[in-house]
Point group: D2
Chain length 454, copies 4
């Protein structure tokens, strides 16, 4: 889970990319970076933290000059927070300097690693992005797009990529296009982003999706050429739509808020037997689904859970008590609308279930008589191998607890999930032809792939 | 506009206060500080920025030891951001060391200042809090409460105060109690806070308001004594309820969310003629009022404005273009629910009107056909002299533009305000006997007071 | 022990003062600060650490504008390292804003403090500088010089002072002038400094001492007026010449290096019986005296102790082992010139004696057969009450150990001190009429003064 | 120009290495780093700045655990100050993780780089150290020493190397041993350092040089094995002895101070015709040579140039005026010993000559009647290709100005250099059999080497 942005043939390209990263900050808070080209030289600045933390003391014009820039946001993953893993990643190959930024996950990571070691390669990090960079150094090809095609034949999995070399930026998709990427005209050049909200801040209203199996090569002055190197049944990530992307964005050409509301509407049809007094969204990610449930069911929406913008990052002792306090600092109940009520609390998805257990407890403490959990997606039963940072199977609540014992486990009165069919209908793909829903179904999106042990 | 917290006779008092400040961080983001007492010595740490920024590298047990602590959050005011103005403020008087934290505004500031200069006093800051500290050094009195009574006879205006001396913490209210403060039992000691949400994070369910004209003296081991030194017609700040406090808090014994919903309900009764397709709150401050308007009117609530948690602090060039971009970075429209709709956008209050003008523009850009502004409070026509940081009259939109030209000025289809009567009824004080509503009415809450030129 | 600098009526006054502070950094490493005046407004920036640490990120032109500036360096004192004690100190009196910087020590500190408390004063620090500022707020007088005269009648002790108010800078001396201060013409204005080396960096060759009991009032455009308010037998600090000032400086009109060489010459006359092979200075403070001893005695000077410029500040465990390592990190012996030699090691003064004990051990470890200690000043037997940070009597080696047991205590072969007569002759005052040598003799420089318990 | 340190089989190895780096800080101020091994895992921390700046906030026990550690100091080079170039450098090869630290310069850099590119290698920096790491990934060999032997057959030039892999640390020398390295027993393990002063801080008195063409393999528990892989005529760097190493150190088994004094003595024999009144060292690097000149010639040594410990790093405008001021801030003349004198100013070497020109000017300004420059080494006429950061030929004063015009160029009365014969005799190698003196003579130390254009 990461976010990408680029500006090519545009004044103050680094500043433009900084703003596009800010607009996509929800998609990665662990690290941020921007690289630019100016007069054939590459410049890069990156660091751990939010965009503002990384760039607040940087004079962009001086340290990141040029009219071509690519940027990357890194999501906080379970393991290694380390500045070495922050992107873009730069290196020099026989063909000259190169910078790249990657969203996704190479599923044949271990195989590629051993192959590179055999050829004498020394790896500096344990990221799959460095593997991709090393492959690009090894493959032959007169142009960057040619080398990218070679690379895509060896590296499998979700690989949405920005590459910057003197004179050219490429944005490219693997044949299945798990992760979103779009580009748009701006001034005399081109912008690239993962989510359309990064275009909207500049007043841009039209953009193009990067097709699966395609490389979009953009020259320094903004000329665009599309190279299609593969055709495959597309696999849009359904979890991007359920949870990860922002509701005011379009990804893969689909409107996130609209499809998320359709999920809510489907769920809203099935809750009349619960006799709810109010629908409470877990803010802010479930706001849109809850609004649709309320509208469809006629049960009023109430903002009974209040989110603190300033929850505090640091709790020194990572004890159970501290974690519980953590939720209380972030979410607080407005007891005046909850007391003596039968409430439906809406969440977009249940992964580990730890937060929901505490939310239920807070609602009962505040006087709710019944707390019904409404989940606007199906049970998550498999970890993702294509770039979403879901935990191992044994940590997935719905994978380790039978459905009929979930309510008890979470401390709620009842649990209602969206069905797989409802979900796939909501995203306009009732027969699951163009989406990956492995996390909900366990159906491998690509038959031939061998996946690591979960 | 500030927030206070204290813990007396409590283990790890500084950490407890830090959490209470975090829970009230919405009420002051410019600076934060905590002072403690341990074995008769006072300790203090404070700085500019959020609680997390100020305390993230501080070992509280070592640098702020003791079982008594007071804390303060400073709101970003127009003028002087300076670390000298961050509280608590410490000093030594003939009676020993003292630390204090102040919420409010001394309305006879200039008079007190001249009086202190005449007595030879050298002032180190231009804050009214230092005047209060200096007065406490000059007045006679065997005990801290006695000296506080003397001080309250000279300093006028909104003065809600925490004072810490070896062996005792006092929380005290001026005779009119403009600003809220409450205390609660916790462990073997006492907690003090401006808003009840700071108690709720510890699971506390009962608290007591500090009455007007009262000093609550708390000994180091948590013994409480109430000293009433004045009686006056109370003046609760109605703007705290309209905008400043969080909806899950109780202040002055009144539930903020409940009263804010009553404001929404009153407004919801009067909008049927607008034929709205949807009610859009300006997130998050108008969520609760919008929910009530929707419920009362039957017009569905839609989350058509999406707030970015990470808006970015730094825009180097403070140009008009940068400010406009600032709003676009913070608020984005979900056009899928706005296109071709007649929407009512709800805000809690209109002060300068600059943000609302841009929101209206964003909504029309996204395809709304009508944008009706619904304000859940009356027009703001006077600056506050009792601690709310509203600007000079000439910057108040409703003070400089006639009501019938406001819609045009803001670029909206129509504007509907709450009436004064509706507001005062919503806060349970239809005859304005116990509230200050000077900002909406211009009625001086205290006849004798001479106010500075606005 | 502090250092002062000022620039009045000079372009980029803050930058000029920053350089003068840098040139005097040896005289204070704990904190640094500069205050300026521009268009009647005062600006100030200060902090803990070296000049470079405090000012490296400061844009002086923007944050400290104006053509008048005063600066201060604070010496690391035993107790309270706290940013509150860093100078210049600013405040507002009935006569307007004022900034001051102080070198010295008010010897009637406690008396002044109680007097100010009685008048209702609240003190924010425990520094005597704040007392002086408070006195200046209380006294009457139409002009700043008049108020300074009043202040000097109440505050006793060593008070060399820079005061800055809109339109004027004053540099003033107490009647006895314990601490040095001089001024010089520069461009169209005036510079002030404690040591002449701060003038030399600008190529200045002539300067004037501020006489005892005098106020030099300098207008914003560099006009100078001398106000003499008292006459008294002058008391130049002999320890400034022995140790504190740099050898390339002039203070009180005396050349430090020249007088320090005269101390060495006197000592060099009396060491022939020791049959030394080499004279080793403790670098860098004893270089000059050692050079004179060598020249007078004919024993060659050898750089047998090598000082590391980068000794490392941080040793986490403050154990005996760590302190010993501390000396080994700072000073290293060149055994090639020490082995099998009878060496004389020269230090300017012995206060606690802890470092010398370890130096002796290092020299014997490196193979020296005899280590004779030569001290170019008499035994220090009394703490200073006028601004030099010497420790309590019980920590002064020569005050607690009889002279005939000193060599044993320090682990050296013999100890030779300069006599009081030799010292006073070296500074050109054989009858001790114009110097304070209390630390060496215990003779009170001012009969009437009551000193605190040592 | 760098410095190395290691501790193997030693408690708190990282802290031990930190102290050894501090003791060698003169040899590299641009960056510092330490890597350790604990239970088969490698840990690393490094950064730009001094040891204290890089490690002051690091909890070594927690962040750099283990009993094996290697460390590196990087010298400020003309070009790229970048954190990427700070060492140690870590990577993973087919044989597992590895960390290395390098002192020297690979003279066939460009050749190696092209060879690695051809094999598909992607390089992340432009340092030769990364080339060495990449070579170590490509070569075959069952053990680390075997792979090091392979590497030394491909990489030419000065390569003194520390390598750390799980279970082993190697310190190795290229066949010519340009740079120094020694090891010593300590506790139950082994310490490694560039200069012996890093051993002396622990009281260690005996150490062993790493021979040319040798690898010293040290197991985790401190077992030492010497592998000799080549024999060649040794090439000790004479410039290390002239300038770079500290006088209290031994390098290559030679005592630096002793040999530097022999240089001074040789020069002292030839100056009687100058009729000097005093010998002034440029502190501190020329102290030892000046002392020997004085002793040999009978002309007294005077500390007429005073060095400020705190010279200030930042001068915003890099103008000529600022650079001149820079010297004035760092070096100040004690005019009392210079006035009307004929002085000999001693410097260890003249590279660009810019500082000396200003020193001469300062001395004449202070009243010296004659200023004779005495240089305790011959003219520097060639840049170094083996790790000393001397500038391009056209910037070397003695390479662009004829010797008979040097005095005029530098503004001094006369210039006396040491001769090549005197220098080589002083270092005990009159026939230049075991030293490299290319910088002074231009004689290539290795016939076959092709050097880049100077």
């Amino acid at each position: 889970m990461c976010r990408l942005a680029a500006a090519v043939g545009v004044d103050n390209a680094a500043e433009v990319v900084r703003r596009m990263l800010l607009a996509q900050q929800h998609g990665g808070q662990e690290g941020a970076g921007i690289a630019t080209e100016h007069d054939g030289k590459l410049y890069i600045h990156k660091g751990l933290g939010l965009v503002d933390e990384v760039f607040s003391r940087v004079d962009l014009n001086r340290e990141l000059p040029g009219r071509s820039a690519i940027g990357h946001l890194r999501y906080a993953t379970a393991g290694g927070t380390h500045v070495n893993n922050v992107q873009p990643l730069d290196g020099v190959t026989r063909d000259g300097p190169m910078v790249l930024a990657h969203n996704g996950n190479a599923s044949n990571y271990e195989e590629l690693r051993q192959q590179l070691f055999k050829s004498g390669c020394v790896l500096r990090t344990d990221s799959d992005t460095e593997l991709i960079l090393s492959l690009l150094g090894h493959v032959a090809g007169a142009t960057l797009p040619e080398r990218l095609v070679q690379m895509y034949q060896q590296a499998q999995g979700a690989i949405t990529l920005l590459t910057l070399v003197p004179g050219m930026v490429c944005v490219s998709q693997d044949p299945f296009r798990w992760r979103p990427a779009a580009y748009a005209e701006y001034q005399d050049g081109i912008l690239v982003a993962s989510e359309s909200r990064a275009f909207k801040i500049f007043g841009i209203k039209r953009w193009h999706q990067v097709p699966p199996g395609c490389i979009i090569a953009i020259t320094a002055n903004g000329q665009v050429r599309e190279i299609r190197y593969a055709t495959a049944p597309e696999r849009r990530c359904v979890f991007e739509k359920v949870y990860f992307a922002m509701p005011d964005s379009e990804i893969y050409g689909d409107h996130v808020g609209q499809q998320r509301r359709q999920m809510g509407t489907a769920l809203g049809r099935r809750i009349s037997h619960l006799n709810l007094d109010g629908i409470i969204p877990v803010p802010d990610s479930a706001n849109v689904a809850a609004e649709a449930i309320s509208k469809e069911s006629g049960v009023p929406l109430i903002h009974g859970l209040v989110r603190s913008k300033y929850a505090g990052r640091t709790f020194i002792t990572p004890t159970q008590e501290a974690r519980e306090l953590g939720v209380r600092m972030k979410l607080s109940v407005d007891e005046s609308v909850v007391k003596s009520q039968r409430v439906g609390v809406v969440d977009d998805s249940i992964v580990r279930g730890t937060t929901m257990r505490q939310i239920a407890q807070l609602l009962f403490e505040a006087g709710a008589v019944e707390v019904h959990l409404l989940v606007s997606s199906p049970p998550v039963i498999h970890p993702c191998h294509w770039g979403i940072d879901t935990p191992h199977r044994q940590q997935l609540l719905a994978a380790r607890v039978p459905l009929d014992r979930l309510a008890e486990e979470l401390g709620v009165t009842s649990v209602t999930y969206l069905t797989e069919t409802e979900l796939m209908t909501a995203v306009g793909d009732p027969e699951s032809k163009s989406h990956c829903n492995y996390c909900f179904t366990g159906c491998k999106p690509v038959a031939a792939h061998r996946l690591p042990n979960e």
